[in-house]
């Protein structure tokens, strides 16, 4: 028997029971469109988020707290300061120093875009003994500095550190809170460790992980700190600020830096909850898809079973004229296949339309071509699931037909 004949007979059976056939088609349409629509939509959403996260990049700061045992673990080294009330700090914790040369190694870590050494020193004012934090920054690599410490966009008045011109040098940049408490403004002079610096800028850095009250360029900070140390500062820093190529690489970069320095890492991992939410959405869509597929398959099965009861005699007739159980089974599978295929095709169209309506604008906003979200495997999976489900119902129906003797079926009125 030719395939087109089987399909033709199957089509006639659909027309014989149009309501039931339409219900089965609609069930599979709903299942495939939901599966495909949601999958493509979340896929597009994820691509867009990944793209945004990739562009945003990540950052963190690495430092080694001062050990209570008094013995530092290399490469960290204990700092020796003259005044015990002063010291190198990060996040209010006293820290060790690292050789600045580690920067080269750290820059080679996977996912690391830039590493900048920083000096953060909690010190006492030589004028009125108030405590403040001095930040010494290597401004030759601005990428990491801007993400982790301070950026030109933070400037409230004056200019950003290192950009001042004049005979008095780069000057000092103040945190706006510190400037307000001390009543300082741009253009005034501030005494830092007995050295006078002109205030060239006041900034508001927000919630960045590395924070100081007074910012100096690296060389100026080293000069200020030298007389406060009981040993030469040398080429050392107490904090590394690290820029990551993409927040998606954040964990790998943190692990790599930790492995080299043994440092404590502070980071603002806002991408983590976002990623979790995306994953939850996809899981929810998957569960919804499975539920809808289950409903569609049950619909199909119910339709097949009802048809079996109604057509019991017909199956008896077919068997009496030489159709084998296998022939009838194959026909039943075609009859289950047909509405499922039509429903699945409709589902592909509807699912794709949902993607066009809601997914494509998301991708467009992220600057991605819409084709990036089209996953042929995903579409094939949606259709194959529908066909497999329908084939299963046809197969079950065929098994039930097999269990009835032809004579018994022929006695059915």
């Amino acid at each position: 028997m030719a395939r087109h004949e089987a399909i033709s007979i199957a089509w006639r059976e659909q027309r014989r029971r149009p309501g039931r056939s339409l219900a089965v088609m609609f069930g599979f349409l709903l299942a495939v469109s939901a599966f495909l629509g949601f999958s493509l939509l979340f896929h597009a959403d994820r691509l867009a988020e990944d793209e945004i996260l990739r562009r945003v990049g990540g950052y963190f700061a690495a430092f080694a707290p001062l050990p209570s045992t008094g013995v530092a673990t290399p490469p960290a080294e204990l700092p020796r300061v003259k005044d015990a009330s002063e010291g190198f700090i990060a996040n209010t914790i006293l820290t060790c120093l690292f050789p600045r040369s580690l920067v080269t190694k750290l820059r080679a870590v996977d996912g690391v875009a830039e590493v900048v050494p920083v000096l953060l020193f909690r010190m006492r004012s030589r004028q009125d003994a108030h405590m403040f934090t001095l930040g010494g920054i290597d401004m030759s690599r601005p990428l990491a500095v801007e993400r982790t410490c301070c950026a030109p966009s933070d400037v409230k008045s004056g200019v950003f550190l290192g950009l001042a011109t004049g005979s008095e040098g780069p000057g000092a940049m103040l945190d706006d809170g510190y400037a307000a408490v001390r009543g300082l403004e741009v253009g005034e002079t501030i005494d830092i460790g007995g050295v006078g610096f002109r205030v060239t800028g006041i900034i508001d850095t927000g919630v960045r992980p590395v924070h100081a009250d007074v910012y100096l360029v690296w060389d100026d900070a080293a000069k200020v700190l030298a007389p406060l140390m009981a040993e030469p500062l040398g080429d050392r820093a107490n904090v590394f600020i690290v820029a990551v190529t993409s927040v998606l690489e954040q964990n790998a970069a943190i692990a790599g830096v930790k492995n080299i320095t043994g440092a404590v890492i502070t980071s603002y991992n806002c991408f983590r909850p976002a990623s979790k939410v995306v994953g939850l959405n996809e899981k929810a869509a998957g569960i919804l898809g499975i539920v809808l597929y289950g409903v569609a398959v049950l619909f199909s099965l119910k339709s097949q079973l009802a048809a079996l009861v109604e057509r019991r005699r017909e199956f008896g007739i077919l068997r009496s004229i030489g159709w084998s159980d296998r022939d009838i089974g194959a026909q039943l599978v075609w009859e289950a296949f047909l509405p499922a295929s039509i429903g699945a095709m409709g589902g592909v169209l509807v699912g794709f339309s949902v993607f066009v309506l809601f997914g494509m604008p998301v991708l467009k906003q992220a600057g991605l071509p819409w084709t990036t979200a089209i996953d042929a495997c995903l579409i094939a999976r949606g259709v194959v699931l529908a066909l497999a489900g329908s084939a299963l119902t046809g197969f079950l129906a065929a098994l039930l037909v097999r269990r009835t003797s032809p004579a018994e079926a022929l006695r059915t009125i």
Binding site: M1, A2, E5, R12, E13, R16, R313, E314, G316, I317, L318, R319, S320, I321, G322, W323, S324, D325, R326, D327, R402, S405, P406, A407, E408, L410
Partner: protein, 229 residues
């Protein structure tokens, strides 16, 4: 089939049905034999088990006891698929109530027998049309059974049986519901199959049947076959 083997050989056939907890024996001990090119007419009153016997001979049901051999093959030993093959190739059954597929046209009903055979689509169609024309309903090819008269439905049923040129024809009241003229015509076609192809014909009927020379008649009564004088 061996040269000497009869087309049908039945020995000690028994069949009973359960009804409301009661066992009703229908066939108590039936034995018969029908050779190639022979005709056997089984008469008997309604409800004596004629159709049941035909159903058993067609392999559509299983006997409680006894052995049925068709063309030398013990059908009790065949699988359902092999039995289907036997019905497709060797045995043609005409049912009392025609048993046409209600949603299939007349020509499709006839073609249905050939669908899982060796013929291609066009050959099947040609053969089905030829038989329907031969039976005088060539102008009703595309009509559904419900659109045909009882006589026309009977003709479609006969065409469906003969289109495959089976070597054994089992006919249950083949002329029961048709006018004498149509009945004679149908019998003519069945007898032609016996005469021209050497097919075996087994007819069961409760009514008058115009016996021809060479045709054997037996009566089914109380679950056994007895000769008719």
């Amino acid at each position: 089939m061996t040269e000497s083997a009869p087309m049908i050989n039945v020995t000690g056939l028994k069949k009973s049905f359960r009804q409301g907890g009661r066992v009703i024996p229908v066939l108590k001990d039936v034995s018969l034999s029908l050779g190639a090119g022979e005709t056997l007419v089984i008469t008997g009153r309604s409800g004596v088990g004629k159709s049941t016997l035909l159903t058993l001979l067609g392999g559509l049901d299983l006997p409680d006891a006894g052995r049925i051999s068709i063309a030398g093959v013990d059908i009790g030993a065949l699988t359902q698929d092999s039995l289907a093959g036997l019905r497709r190739k060797t045995v043609g059954i005409i049912f009392q109530n025609f048993n046409l597929l209600p949603s299939w046209s007349a020509v499709e009903n006839v073609e249905a027998v050939l669908m899982h055979g060796d013929l291609d689509l066009s050959e099947r169609r040609i053969r089905a049309v030829k038989w329907l024309e031969r039976l005088g309903i060539g102008d009703r090819l595309d009509n559904l059974p419900a659109e045909l008269s009882v006589g026309q439905q009977q003709r479609v049923a006969v065409a469906r049986t003969l289109v495959n040129e089976p070597m054994l024809i089992l006919a249950d009241e083949p002329t029961g519901d048709v006018d004498p003229e149509t009945g004679a015509e149908i019998l003519g076609h069945l007898r032609a199959a016996v005469r021209e192809r050497g097919a075996s014909l087994l007819v069961v009927t409760h009514g008058a049947y115009p016996i021809e020379a060479g045709e054997r008649v037996v009566r089914l009564r109380d679950g056994v076959l007895e000769p008719v004088s």
